[in-house]
Amino acid sequence: MSWLDTANLNLRKRRRRALYFKSICSLFTWSCFVLLAVLLVHVGHKGVGLIDVDFLRNAPSWRPEDCGIWPAIAGSLWMMGLTALISIPCGVSAALYLEEFAPKNRWAHLIDVNISNLAGVPSIVYGILGATVFVRFLALEQSVLAGSLTMSLLVLPVIIIASREAIRAVPSTIRHAALALGATPWQTVVHHVLPTALAGILTGVILALSRAIGETAPLITIGAVAYISDAPAGPMDSFTVLPLQIYSWTTKAQSEFQDLAAGGIVALLVFLVIMNGIAVWIRHRAEGNAN
């Protein structure tokens, strides 16, 4: 490490070296902004112009100029709604159990390690699980329900980890006070712990759902297809979602379709901005209340 060896350098050289290093670091940091800007501009300049009422209302077609994303938007909303219905109660309950009720034994430790490992499993592996268990074993076929169940398993670790952090942040004095006044453990949790942790939990839930809405790979594995011309009318209907629609347009050779993909991406990003905006608003409000 001779370049680190400063014994033979005078102070001015050492300071100059420190300055160079700082410049390199800030240059790389700025490059993150540039990357993000390039990405958004690249997608935006092709995509924004495409978005009009017809694009939002029509179904995909073999003629690029008639194409629209309504079935994909409806499918995404359906899937997000069902995923939320399934994963939020399960995730929050699991977090409550682990933080408030679990005895500190080997089982609790096993569940703990298991959840952090599950959070690192590639999404496509969840897709394989969904394809075997939900699509074939439970015979749900390529329905919204099968997709939502798969997605729920995928986001559960995220929800559990975020909720646990929020619950852990609740001061234990609140629990002690409630228990001392004769509340049962469950009453303590419902009346005091959950409301206090709510903002943190909601933020985590929204982030998890915005991950679900952008996921593509698991849905490809369960066989959800992009050639759907109607919005799903119930949980057992076949469906497509925005990322799948974008994928199928991106992989087409004609550049008109690739431009359509940019339009779809803009719609997807608008969804994500709205969801994250809500998360930021909740966090902001909770911080305001805490002060």
Binding site: R17, A102, P122, I124, L156, T250, T251
Partner: protein
């Protein structure tokens, strides 16, 4: 509260307790189901193909006769993406983290951190589109021999995807180093750069290593960007300008196509899926072990 109501509420508490436990147990059940479905569905595959031929074979050609099921080209393809993305993400990510933890004002942190979060929150499909329509044309203009689907473009975009992860985990690791160490170094006359490279960075090294390892695991499991940008040509060559196929991209290829169920080429996705699961699981376990070690030191 009378005795009856107390009894009822105790029952209720018990039932709720049971439900909560079930929800927590669901995570174990998920892992078991993943393992069982991968093993169960790949058994028919391993009846046809010897496990050693699968693991050590150097030709992957499951969809064309004569079929060959040597998984190494897919592993090499995946490795190529991991190495390429690390080359992009590690320098930028570490410098970002150093800037955030050492130099940035609180106001600057408030701008950089959300930017990284936004980069991390962009769906992978968007990165795939970006690679194919923006990065590949640039690469082509630099070197005209670049194929439309190539490993370099996918590596760069996966690098951008794992960059926020490296930056924020390294930032955490650097900030976990006690201030006394930095103050000690600077009191002895070190410049900021010297304090950083000689004292703080070595002290945070395990956390930084763990962040790299976790990022590698994400690069291994990354699916959409590589199947859009890197193509579908299993290849053992390490040429970044050529099309390759990763393990994940193969699973997508078969799932999108009309491969009939029950054939070995269909069951191959489960064998590849199992390998993928085992690799990421191994990497994650290493990372968590390293992380736990470093937490013990500084908390």
């Amino acid at each position: 509260m009378n005795i009856l109501a107390q009894k009822k509420s105790r029952w209720l508490e018990g039932g709720i307790h049971g439900f909560l436990f079930f929800c927590a147990f669901l995570s174990i059940l998920t892992t078991v189901t993943i393992v069982v479905s991968l093993v169960w569905e790949s058994i028919p595959f391993f009846f046809e193909v010897a496990p050693l031929d699968f693991l050590l074979g150097t030709t992957w050609q499951p969809l064309i006769v004569p079929r060959e099921y040597g998984v190494l080209p897919l592993v090499v393809g995946t490795l190529q993406i991991v190495v390429g993305s690390a080359l992009v993400a590690i320098p930028i990510g570490v410098c970002c983290a150093i800037y955030l933890s050492e130099y940035a004002s609180p106001r600057m942190r408030k701008i950089v951190k959300p930017t990284l979060e936004v980069l991390a929150g962009i769906p992978t499909i968007v990165y795939g589109y970006f690679a194919l329509t923006a990065i590949t044309p640039v690469l082509k203009s630099i070197y005209s021999g670049t194929e439309t689907y190539n490993a370099a473009s996918a590596s760069i975009v996966v690098g951008i995807m794992i960059l926020p992860m490296i930056a924020s985990l390294c930032d955490d690791a650097l900030r976990a180093v006690p201030g006394s160490l930095r103050q000690g170094a600077m009191a002895l006359g070190a410049t900021r750069f010297e304090a950083l490279t000689r004292v703080i960075f070595p002290a945070a090294l395990s956390g930084i290593t763990a962040s790299f390892v976790l990022a590698f695991s994400r690069a291994v499991g990354e699916t959409m960007a590589v199947s859009i940008a890197a193509g579908a040509t299993p290849s053992m060559s390490f040429l970044p300008t050529e099309s390759i196929q990763t393990m994940t991209a193969f699973i997508v290829q078969v799932s999108m196509g009309d491969t009939p169920r029950g054939t070995p080429e269909y069951h191959a996705i489960f064998a590849v899926g199992m390998l993928l699961f085992l690799i990421t699981l191994g990497i994650n376990m290493v990372a968590h072990r390293v992380l736990r070690k470093y937490r013990e030191v500084y908390e």
